[in-house]
């Protein structure tokens, strides 16, 4: 009886050993990146995983949310922000691995409207039209896309009149989704986000040089336990094929 029991226990144990997932390899990395980078990074991530056999997990959210998570101790190896201020704040608090910070990309702001509904918006000034009742923006006090949008509208002297119509949302992808839903008449997102959606129409592109300087810095985090793998990921990103991927999604490469 006990021999049979022992055999059963051993075979079950063997089964577990054979089918158990490989212990989290020391080379798996977590990349916290701004929401606008979702599609481009997922593609680069696939290339990285294929090339290096390491796994990369992406956490996409607004840069401000990610920074707060990192400050609170969330595990991440790489942080890819949509603005310089958020990265600066982390640097001031000593969260970045020295010497790994790079300015990688830039982007453009655009005004979008639902693609299939009639619109009166062709320029920023049209946002003041009473028929434009609601305008979606990523939270203008903290999320980079929202901060850039607010800065731009302030520079045109439109912010005070636009502010009552603003619906603040969590991040730039949520802004895109609000406009797609038709529940707001307009929104401000990055050109790269608008390009990826057929349900919105771009009615105005903020000319480069007219709007606030948009810079996406990237850095390895000091708390990272897989700095070598993180460095490899960064190298894949800045390789010609990596930069090509970003360009294909509409990002401007700063090199």
């Amino acid at each position: 009886m006990s021999k049979k029991w022992l055999r059963q226990v051993c075979s079950i144990a063997a089964l577990f050993l054979v089918t158990a997932p490989p212990a989290a390899s020391a080379d798996d990395i977590v990349v916290s990146a701004a929401a606008s980078l979702t599609d481009a990074l997922e593609q680069i991530g696939r290339a990285y995983q294929f090339k290096s056999k390491n796994r990369v997990t992406f956490v996409f959210a607004s840069s401000s949310t990610l920074a707060r998570q990192i400050e609170a101790g969330a595990p991440a190896d790489v942080f890819f922000s949509a603005d310089v201020q958020t990265m600066d704040a982390l640097e001031r608090n000593g969260r970045l691995e020295p010497g790994t910070r790079k300015q990688l990309l830039s982007n453009q702001l655009v005004i979008i409207v639902p693609a299939d509904l009639p619109t009166v918006v062709n320029s920023p000034e049209d946002l003041l039209d009473p028929r434009v009742r609601k305008i979606a923006l990523a939270e203008p006090s903290s999320v980079p896309a929202g901060v850039y949008s607010k800065t731009y509208l302030e520079s045109l002297g439109l912010w005070d009149k636009v502010k009552p119509k603003v619906v603040p949302v969590l991040d730039v992808r949520a802004t895109l989704a609000s406009v797609e839903s038709g529940n707001v008449e307009a929104g401000l997102v990055y050109k790269t986000d608008a390009a990826g959606s057929r349900r919105v129409k771009t009615v105005f592109e903020v000319p480069i040089g007219k709007g606030p300087k948009i810079i996406y810095p990237v850095a390895i985090l000091k708390e990272s336990e897989n700095k070598a793998a993180a460095k490899e990921f960064l190298n894949v990103m800045v390789s010609p094929s990596g930069l090509d991927a970003f360009k294909r999604y509409g990002f401007v490469v700063l090199r």
């Binding site: 401000s64 949310t65 707060r68 509904l117 009742r133 609601k134 939270e139 006090s141 903290s142 603003v166 619906v167 603040p168 949302v169 969590l170 839903s181 038709g182 529940n183 707001v184």
Partner: protein
């Protein structure tokens, strides 16, 4: 701890809309509860289940359904939009979200109360010549009163604490649709922990008071 000016606006707005939402659902909830308690009909179970759904479904699911019903692209939402009535990203959306989410609580409490009213008392009143309307308002409601009030208090508390459906349907717009729950979420998201804790205390105090009264009403022996 200093009180920030928005605290009053957010609290008053939340309490006002939650109160309005409770008053709006009161006649419907009480009527439906009475019908559930007194009448039988085929498919009654389906109606009962549908009324209970917002109580057990994730609030965001209910919020999504409401968004589909009242969004600009829907028949109802589009019709309202063309007449200048906005539900989405508006205080009316807050009210609707609160009303839908708290409705099942009111119905359940009121239904239990109605079930506890001895039907013989209603029958006796009928033999004495009282009309159905009179019986309802003079006999049934006063006997079920405590349960109805307790249910209303529960509904009010639920409305005040509503988050998932509210944020989807009405958004988190400071000064326009931001309730206590939404504001706390916003403050935590933006690192304003001091303000978040302040609002936390307010929500705890209000919720405590409402539930305390509600339970006291339910616990009190009948016929004070």
């Amino acid at each position: 701890m200093s009180i920030i000016p928005e605290t009053w606006q957010i609290t008053l707005f939340s309490v006002a809309v939650a109160l309005a939402s409770t008053l709006v659902i009161l006649p419907f909830g009480v009527a439906l509860a009475w019908v559930f308690a007194r009448k039988e009909w085929p498919l009654k179970a389906i109606i009962e289940t549908m009324v209970l759904l917002p109580l057990v479904m994730p609030p965001v699911s209910t919020g999504l359904i409401l968004l589909e019903i009242f969004g600009r692209r829907s028949p109802l939402g589009g019709w309202l939009y063309n007449r200048g009535v906005e539900i989405v990203f508006n205080w009316k959306g807050v009210l609707i979200a609160m009303a839908v989410m708290s409705f099942p609580l009111l119905v359940r409490a009121a239904r239990t109360s109605f079930s506890e009213v001895n039907p013989r008392l209603e029958q006796i009143a009928a033999t004495l010549g009282a009309s159905r309307c009179r019986i309802f308002f003079v006999i049934t409601i006063p006997l079920a009163f405590r349960g109805i009030i307790a249910g209303s208090l529960l509904a009010f508390s639920r409305a005040l604490g509503e988050f998932g459906a509210t944020i989807l349907l009405a958004g988190n717009i400071p000064g326009r649709t931001q309730t206590l729950s939404l504001a706390i979420f916003n403050y935590v998201q933006t690192g304003r922990e001091h303000e978040a804790y302040m609002l936390l205390s307010i929500t705890v105090m209000i919720a405590f008071a409402s539930v305390w009264c509600s339970e006291w009403l339910l616990r009190c022996p009948k016929g004070m």
